[in-house]
Amino acid sequence: MSVITDNSTPASSGRGIRDEMVAFVIMAALLATVPFTGIYPFFVMQALCFALFACAFNLLIGYGGLLSFGHAMFLGTAGYFTAHALKVWGVSPEIGIVVGTAGACALSVVTGWISIRRQGIYFAMITLALSQLVFFVYLQTPFTHGEDGIQGIPQGMLFGLFDLSKPTTLYYVILVAFLLAFLLIFRAINSPFGEVLKAIRENEPRAVSLGYKADQYKLMAFILSGTLSGFAGSLKVFVAQNASLTDVHWTMSGEIVLMALIGGLGTVFGPVVGAFIIVAMQQYLAGFGQWVTVIQGAIFVICVLTFRRGIVGEIAALFKRSL
């Protein structure tokens, strides 16, 4: 049976993990120097939130073989919950993040339980339909303020120590959160849990015959992916200072698929690269209106037809390393 990702994920070998750790340190060091380079920090923070979102999405498709076309519902739900908690309840940032992430977690338990009943193409359609259901719920419930969204969200003091309204402080908080979540995903992929997940992706009947409860593993992966997507959504509230319907819309679900695809489905660093590319593209092409949509569509077509491994996947294949 063919598998959605062309990137082979060999059983974790010592060398593979060492390569990835080196790449991780390089990435962390590069990102840590951003505030000294004069690069617009807002752009990088936004990209980091999307990078985390894309990594969480990639966990499901790259290692579970499940393509979710509705991941925006987790990003948006956490965003709304965090924004509401911060603005209306006036809680501190860390509580706000917990509220948002917990909301996304609860949603992922329910939607995961429903959607893993089908696989492949149907799974994609079901998750898309569920996220559209969530979209309409948020469109109609009063606490989201409909088309306006929740705006002017106070950033506050994290743990009473870090003033998140200062761009540099906020940048490092976002960076640390991103790196921790990234390590968590990396750990999950290389854990026994991750290995079983890969086994199910490659050959589900065989994994089942070996006594693994495939559905439980898939649900766990779904919940982990949805919760971390929610974490990204909560962080994004501090950067954008608003929560709107854009984050729950299907176009957002499509964008995150695109980020993971262009970077490389099933690669560890691909989604990060993809997120930076797409966010940068939106930033610089903002004046071209809907041509951005056309370009995104064209990238989808080109990626699917010519390089399905994505950028990082192609590089990794070139050097015969796993990244």
Binding site: R117, A129, G254, V294, I299, F300, C303, L305, R308
Partner: protein, 287 residues
Amino acid sequence: MQALYAQLLVGLINGSFYALLSLGLAVIFGMLNIINFAHGALYMMGAFCAYFLLNGLGLNYWYALVIAPVAVGIFGMVLERTLLKWLAGLDHLYGLLLTFGIALIIQGVFQNYFGSSGLPYAIPPQLQGGMNLGFMFLPIYRGWVVVFSLVVCLATWYLIERTRLGAYLRAATENPNLVRAFGINVPRMITLTYGLGIGLAALAGVLSAPINQVRPLMGADLIIVVFAVVVIGGMGSIMGSVITGFALGVVEGLTKYFYPEASNTVVFVLMVLVLLVKPTGLTGRAT
């Protein structure tokens, strides 16, 4: 009661669009193993095609009803020949991603030239006005849409289930290699099937042009509902798609009357219920 009948009629009309679109999706999936995400965009192209024919060439609704499905169908066949055919043998999900990209391109291009607002398309003079049925007032055009869609759906069913061509098609769905060995040009049949599915979508677009305005994003949200319809009905049978499409339209219409807040979401909620009770869909086989 007047309002209830009116909503039921609206439901039947939406149901006919669901039926025409999910029918096309099912036929395409059978042959190409692709869920055509571009279906909504091509439906929109059908409506725009009717608009251009009227305002550019002065050709009225009746010409559009024939020309638009053929023209958009040919466009679809070009897409199949140039892009989709390279996906043979790959995971089905790549087809979804590719057609999603195609949908973004088509919708983006139309949005650039026509914005997001709707363009009006007048009801043809022969179908204007309405009839008083005693218990309700029936706008003729709306009645026409329901009857005509039903006829097209049944004709498609007849073509696939009862003709020789349809038999080849069903055989090729089951085992393309064997059918090819009998000397039938399967690749050409795949292209024609895609064209047929797209033609049905474009036809739905023309039918909807006078009811819903002609907008670049008119198919974008519709296709997601149609996906839910497909999940509920399963893609196993042609008749199943048609019946599910109409039935869900009616349910949606009833919801609009009894509990309007849920009218946007009722199809998705039903999808959840069906998944909980019978995960393979109402007519579907296990995959």
